[in-house]
């Protein structure tokens, strides 16, 4: 039986798709058969981040409308064994997804997969509500910035009232994933710290992803940043995946890196 996890945030541009690509790849690397679904109907982007944009033939809406089978629409990732992508449709009809249709697909996927990752669109409209409705766990992607934290709190409210588990009187397991974290700005008191955001949102911390040039580089190349094992962001995502699987891993990259004497002398970054 698969575990359904939604990656959501309310606010756009905070790293939902980057995180969906990284975490689903990480789970597959750990031997879990994983499918990642792009719920952003009309603004498909996960395919581009995963580097499979030219292999999209059928999409999520085609499967719901029974114009294609799930098997035809699923794209097998070329880099990572056991990872599949279900791309969003480019249709402009925002009512293309129905609860019944989505539920049927999730049930079918649940027979084959260990993890189903739902990449939510931004906002709190129907698409975002659809992405989180069936989730058992939610990863709330947040930047250390006022509008992002506020929107995360709103999406937490929706998880606690409008998800299927909430309707059954149960709770979705919530995780905070803090992205674009800049330890030196936090040290200068110019940026909210991990502790600040944890205190305001009051949900358990899954991971902190430092702001990193590797993220843009990875999306330029269409390769999930977790595969860049040299980068801090890639390593931070690996740690987050380990925690998701129940391992106890200490948090890294929270402190400002002290410049060495020679680096300071030479003015290096």
């Amino acid at each position: 039986m698969a575990k359904i996890i939604v990656i959501t945030s309310g606010k756009g541009g905070v790293g939902k798709t980057t995180s969906s690509a990284a975490i689903s790849t990480g789970l597959a690397l750990r031997g879990k058969k994983t499918v990642v679904i792009d719920f952003d109907v009309g603004l498909r982007n996960l395919d581009l981040i995963m580097g499979c944009e030219r292999r999209v033939v059928y999409d999520f809406v085609n499967v719901i409308n029974k114009e294609a089978t799930l098997k035809q629409a699923l794209i097998k990732d070329k880099r990572t064994e056991g990872l599949y992508i279900l791309p969003a449709s480019q249709t402009r009809d925002k009512d293309a997804l129905t609860y019944e249709g989505v539920e049927a697909i999730l049930n079918e996927l649940a027979e084959d997969f260990d993890f189903i990752i739902c990449d939510s669109p931004a906002g709190i409209e129907q698409g975002a509500q659809m992405a989180l409705y069936f989730a058992e766990e939610a990863i709330v992607v947040t930047n250390p910035e006022v509008s992002s934290v506020r929107d995360s709190d709103r999406i937490l409210g929706i998880l606690q009232s409008k998800s299927r588990l909430a309707e059954q009187g149960k709770a979705v397991k919530e995780h905070l994933l803090l992205t674009r974290y800049n330890p030196s700005r936090v040290a200068n008191a110019e940026m909210l710290s991990v502790e600040d955001v944890e205190e305001i949102l009051a949900i358990p911390l899954l991971g902190v992803i430092p702001e990193s040039e590797a993220v843009l580089k990875a999306s330029n190349q269409g390769s999930p940043v977790i595969l860049d094992t040299e980068s801090e962001a890639g390593q931070a995502y690996q740690d987050a995946v380990s925690r998701l699987l129940g391992d106890e891993v200490p948090h890294r990259f929270l402190e400002q890196v002290q410049k060495g004497f020679f680096k300071r002398l030479l003015g290096g970054k």
Partner: protein
């Protein structure tokens, strides 16, 4: 960084991060308190105030409307501070 810089930094009124945190705590607490309320509540509150204003001169902040949900029963509590009769 010299000792002077260090001292100056300590004496700064408040950093932008702490301003952000304070503002967030207030707005998030406010939004949580109104969460789950029906959408018509703010409008209804305004209309109630307008009706009362026809008879008594009151301010917006002299009225508090609270909706409490307990099990299968909702209680709408209306608190109006009337000015002293002159």
């Amino acid at each position: 960084m010299g000792i002077l810089d260090y001292l100056l930094k300590k004496n700064k009124p408040s950093s932008s991060a702490s301003v952000a945190k304070e503002r967030l705590q207030i707005i998030v607490a406010h939004e949580r308190s109104t969460r789950g309320q029906p959408d018509y509540l703010p409008l209804m509150q305004q209309e109630i105030i307008d009706v009362i204003r026809k008879y008594v001169d009151i301010d917006q902040d002299q009225v508090s409307v609270q909706l409490d949900n307990a099990d299968d029963c909702s209680v709408l509590e209306l608190n109006i501070t009337l000015p002293d009769a002159k």
